[in-house]
């Protein structure tokens, strides 16, 4: 019988914090500016420049540490990690090695196998690197330092995961917690959340860990899953053929679904860490810690329990809505305005999820405001628009966050409640469709549907279907 292997996985997750400015200078962290427009002497490593720590970075890092059950290192320091690379303007990265801000935490994950705890070894604060763009024409690379100095936390897990499913559950859990904290938007595709996978295999039952590799450049859950499966197989094949796994860093090529070793004589991987003399230690007093603890938000589990008590909506809906902090906020704020949880939930669970899926968007990307959703619900309630028109208006609102009331007015989409005008139209429809009228009178109940449709068409959709039905039946 073939040997059974166990996969052992630990993760290093980098999360870009949602601060307005970089970690050590007053440059904007906005994503996607023209090259080098968000730079200054500090984040481009100009001689003589010095870093000054953004306080909000510490607040966010502590908040994430508390949410992941870590011990907060109340006296922590920054260290320099020295290595040469063009995206790293000083050729050292300011990070934390000796006294990281959070240690010894855990999160609970749930998979098809049940619940389990994944340990968090540490969380440290550091600066992001710039971006390298490859110029095919000149056969060179180009450096943009806009991202250089954007604050990151690196969350280092214990090697507690055993499958891709657990890894994804862990990442989903972190993403949820961090989004609930508002500490990051955690978008894998934009790089505001990045995961490096440390993986080794060992014979089932073995006590010692095997030699691990580290995989980088994983930009989606799909890539992570495929990379884990591929690396597991690669390592098992090596062991089965009597070879050794080499401890190395490998880069995942998502297009080729293949990883390759990033080996170079010039990469000594000896980072010569030492305390950064330009930065003073950070001391997080008990008061400061309590302040952050007190301002922690309601997390998902608490929110779900409260929804069950407060709102009469299905448990399934609660699960979906609270899965995203943004969606949950939208729900609560809209309900606060219009007081109709059921209807709000229906809009979110129905049209909103449909459009998100259709447009391949995350709930975090939703742009319409709770006020506008509440107004739309109001328009339907007052029968100012019918449900078909409401859905059309919603689509526009989803795209551009228009005010549904003024939109309906401007476009003249309001339901016509003038019975006189309706009667006139119905009479015309009856006159124009003798066959359907005859069918209906001969007992074909369904024929009335066609006549309703014709009436609505003639009224450009602005009639109340109930009223159309009543008037039709009267006149027939």
């Amino acid at each position: 019988m073939a040997k059974q292997y166990e996969t052992v996985i630990g993760l290093e997750v980098h999360v870009e914090l949602a601060t307005k400015t970089k970690i050590f200078c007053g440059c904007s962290t906005a994503f996607g500016g023209a090259p080098n427009t968000h730079t200054c002497p500090v984040c481009t490593g100009m001689p003589g420049s010095l870093p000054v720590l953004n306080k909000q970075v510490v607040n966010y890092a502590v908040a994430v540490g508390l949410a992941t059950n870590c011990t907060i290192t109340q006296y922590c320091k920054f260290d320099r990690k020295n290595y040469f690379y063009p995206d790293n303007p000083q050729n050292y990265q300011i990070s934390q090695l000796y006294l990281p801000i959070c240690r010894n935490g855990h999160v609970e994950i749930e998979t098809s196998e049940g619940k389990k705890l994944v340990g968090i070894h540490e969380i440290h604060m550091e600066e992001d690197a710039g971006k390298l763009i490859h110029d095919e024409w000149e056969d060179c690379s180009l450096v943009d330092y806009n991202r250089s100095g954007v604050p990151l936390i690196e969350i280092v897990s214990e090697p507690d995961m055993r499958s891709a499913e657990e890894v994804i559950a862990y990442l989903e859990k972190l993403r949820m917690l961090i989004q609930y904290l508002g500490a990051s938007d955690c978008k894998l595709n934009e790089g505001s959340m990045r995961a490096d996978v440390n993986l080794s295999v060992r014979e089932a039952g073995a006590k010692e860990f095997g030699t691990r590799t580290e995989m980088k450049n994983l930009n989606s859950f799909r890539a992570i899953t495929h990379a884990i499966e591929g690396e597991r197989e690669r390592q098992i094949e090596l062991l089965e053929s009597g070879q050794q796994v080499t401890q190395e860093t490998r880069r995942w090529d998502d297009a080729k679904e293949y990883s390759y070793a990033m080996r170079s004589k010039e990469d000594a991987q000896d980072y010569r860490y030492f305390p950064d003399p330009d930065l003073t230690p950070v001391y997080i007093s008990d008061e400061w810690l309590a302040q952050i603890r007190d301002s922690q938000p309601e997390f998902r589990e608490e929110k779900m329990a409260r929804y069950k008590k407060e709102y009469d909506i299905p448990e399934y809906d609660i699960g979906i809505i609270t899965d995203s902090k943004h969606l949950a906020d939208l729900f609560e704020e809209t309900v606060a305005i219009c007081g109709q949880p059921k209807k709000v939930s229906n809009w979110l669970m129905g049209e909103t999820l449909r459009l998100l899926k259709e447009k391949n968007m995350d709930p975090e990307d939703i742009c319409f405001s709770p006020e506008h959703l509440a107004r739309l619900i109001g328009l339907v309630d007052s029968k100012a628009v019918n449900s078909t028109v409401a859905k059309e208006v919603f689509e526009v609102m989803f795209d551009k966050d228009i005010d549904p009331e003024s939109y309906v007015e401007e476009r003249g989409l309001r339901t016509v409640n003038d019975e006189g005008a309706l009667r006139k139209t119905v009479e015309e429809v009856i006159a124009a469709n003798p066959q359907s009228v005859a069918d209906y009178r001969n007992g074909k109940e369904k024929a009335i549907g066609f006549l309703v449709g014709q009436t609505m068409k003639a009224m450009k959709g602005k009639a109340d279907p109930g009223m159309v039905n009543r008037v039709l039946k009267e006149l027939l």
């Binding site: 002497p41 001689p47 030492f274």
Partner: protein, 480 residues
């Protein structure tokens, strides 16, 4: 009176009183530079037109009453490791041969705000690594007292410029004695402030935990006035300290009665030149004659300061100098194959021998497996050295000693044996490790006519004691 005879403070007063103009002062300095520079080579960069324009503008503002400070209109020389917006800043290195900063160092901005007028940038040991100003990529600077001798270093250009009248005062930087030792060799006053007193923003870092900018001046009164202007709490420098006692000129008082001065026996042992020793001890007597209580004591740990310093400074320098890679500014090698070759060629061609020596040492002591034995050990010894000073300052107001074991050596004598050169820093280095303020002031000359320097060291934030004692000595020096 010849314009060049004025001290900085007296010159500014004369300009503000209308006796002469800032432009005349600048013209006089430029004329002196024309006369002396070929022998001294104190400057790397002189921008005459800009200097004259700035002098004219300062004059105008003085006449309008906008500039009233003690340094208004005074021509100043800036060590070339301080960034000056729009003016070449080379650190006397080939690797920054074409670097024009887009901002000025905070200390330079403070001087400009006070109306001082920049003449140019002074020569130095490359990246402030050296004690002779011979490691500059732009030629050696010579000692104005005897051009066969070095001016000291690393702020040798600044010290020589002050001594030769090629400026009225200068800024230097001091990581292990780089202001005090050249001041001593050139017979001028130099002060290294308490760490954090002058912003390091815009100072190209060598050993970040040790670097401080300070004045090199003709006398103690100028020194106090300059320090008063450049000291500031700068939010751009995390290690900058908020002090409310920076009215240093208030300490220009001719009185040391009752001041307790300790002389470390350890500073007068093996290796010190007899003439230096005698001059320094005579200075102590002068202070004693003025009422200071002078006694000898054992400071301890003196011989450990140099290895501690070279470990810490080299480690920090190896990291600080990583940014010079040929990508963002400065020199880039012309021919290379690929990224890493570009790094190596650029840095190997761009840095001089002494800089490479310290980068190699610093990289080694931080490398895997050696950190604890070298770097961490040095940080612990640093704590012990600080403690030894704390104990001394529990008993004394000031510590008095030599600046260097000898007067200025001849050109070419020092570089052949780096370790021996490092040993010359023995009296200055521990001051940087402990973050203390210290002043160097002239206390006579040796038989060859080369100046001897007296060093006074105070506890942290006690610059006023230094200034008061130095001023008292200066006022009474010739009365013996």
């Amino acid at each position: 009176m010849d314009i060049l005879e004025y001290s900085a403070v007296a010159l500014s007063a004369a300009i503000r009183e209308g006796k002469l103009t800032a432009t005349e002062a600048m013209e006089a300095v430029l004329a002196r530079i024309d006369e002396k520079e070929k022998d001294i080579n104190a400057y790397v960069t002189i921008d005459r037109e800009q200097a004259l324009r700035a002098a004219a503008s300062a004059q105008e503002r003085i006449e309008k009453g906008e500039l009233t400070g003690a340094l208004a209109g005074v021509p100043v020389a800036i060590k070339d490791n301080m960034c000056t917006e729009g003016m070449l800043t080379t650190c006397s290195s080939k690797i920054l041969e074409n670097f024009v900063p887009t901002f000025s160092a905070e200390a330079v901005i403070n001087l400009e705000k006070a109306g001082a007028v920049i003449i140019g940038k002074t020569n130095m040991d490359e990246f402030a690594m050296g004690s002779t100003t011979e490691t500059s990529a732009y030629g050696v600077t010579r000692n104005p007292w005897n051009t066969d001798h070095v001016p000291g270093g690393s702020s040798g250009g600044s010290a020589a410029a002050v001594a030769a009248g090629e400026c009225f005062f200068a800024l230097g930087s001091d990581t292990g004695g780089s202001i005090r030792q050249p001041a001593s060799f050139c017979g001028v006053v130099g002060l290294k402030p308490t760490y954090g007193t002058v912003s390091r923003y815009g100072l190209v870092a060598y050993g970040s935990s040790l670097d401080q900018i300070g004045p090199l001046t003709k006398n103690v009164a100028d020194c106090a006035a300059v320090l008063e202007v450049i000291a500031s709490h700068d939010m751009k420098d995390s290690t900058s300290i908020n002090r409310n006692d920076t009215d240093f000129t208030a300490a220009l008082v001719n009185d040391v009665k009752g001041m307790k001065i300790g002389i470390p026996r350890d500073y007068f042992g093996e290796g010190i030149d007899a003439e230096v020793k005698n001059a320094v001890l005579a200075a102590a007597e002068t202070l004693a004659a003025q009422g200071a209580v002078v006694e000898e004591f054992d400071l301890s740990l003196v011989e450990y300061a140099i290895p501690t310093y070279y470990t810490i400074a080299a480690a920090e320098a190896s990291s600080n100098l990583e940014r010079f890679d040929g990508i963002k500014y400065g020199y880039r090698a012309e021919a290379f194959e690929g990224l890493h070759d570009m790094y190596k060629k650029t840095r190997s061609e761009g840095f001089g021998a002494e800089v490479k020596r310290r980068i190699m040492l610093g990289s080694f002591v931080l490398s895997s497996g050696y950190y604890d034995a070298y770097y961490l050990k040095a940080l612990k010894v640093k704590a012990m050295i600080k403690k030894a000073f704390d104990d001394a300052f529990a008993r004394y107001d000031l510590i008095l000693g030599p600046v260097a074991p000898t007067t200025a050596p001849k050109l070419g004598e020092s570089l052949s044996d780096p370790l021996k050169m490092y040993l010359g820093d023995i009296y200055t280095i521990s001051v940087n490790l402990a973050g203390l303020p210290a002043i160097s002031l002239p206390c006579g000359k040796d038989s060859r006519g080369l100046p001897v320097g007296l060093q006074l060291i105070a506890d942290s934030f006690q610059e006023k004691k230094l200034i008061q004692a130095a001023y008292t000595y200066e006022q009474n020096e010739k009365k013996i």
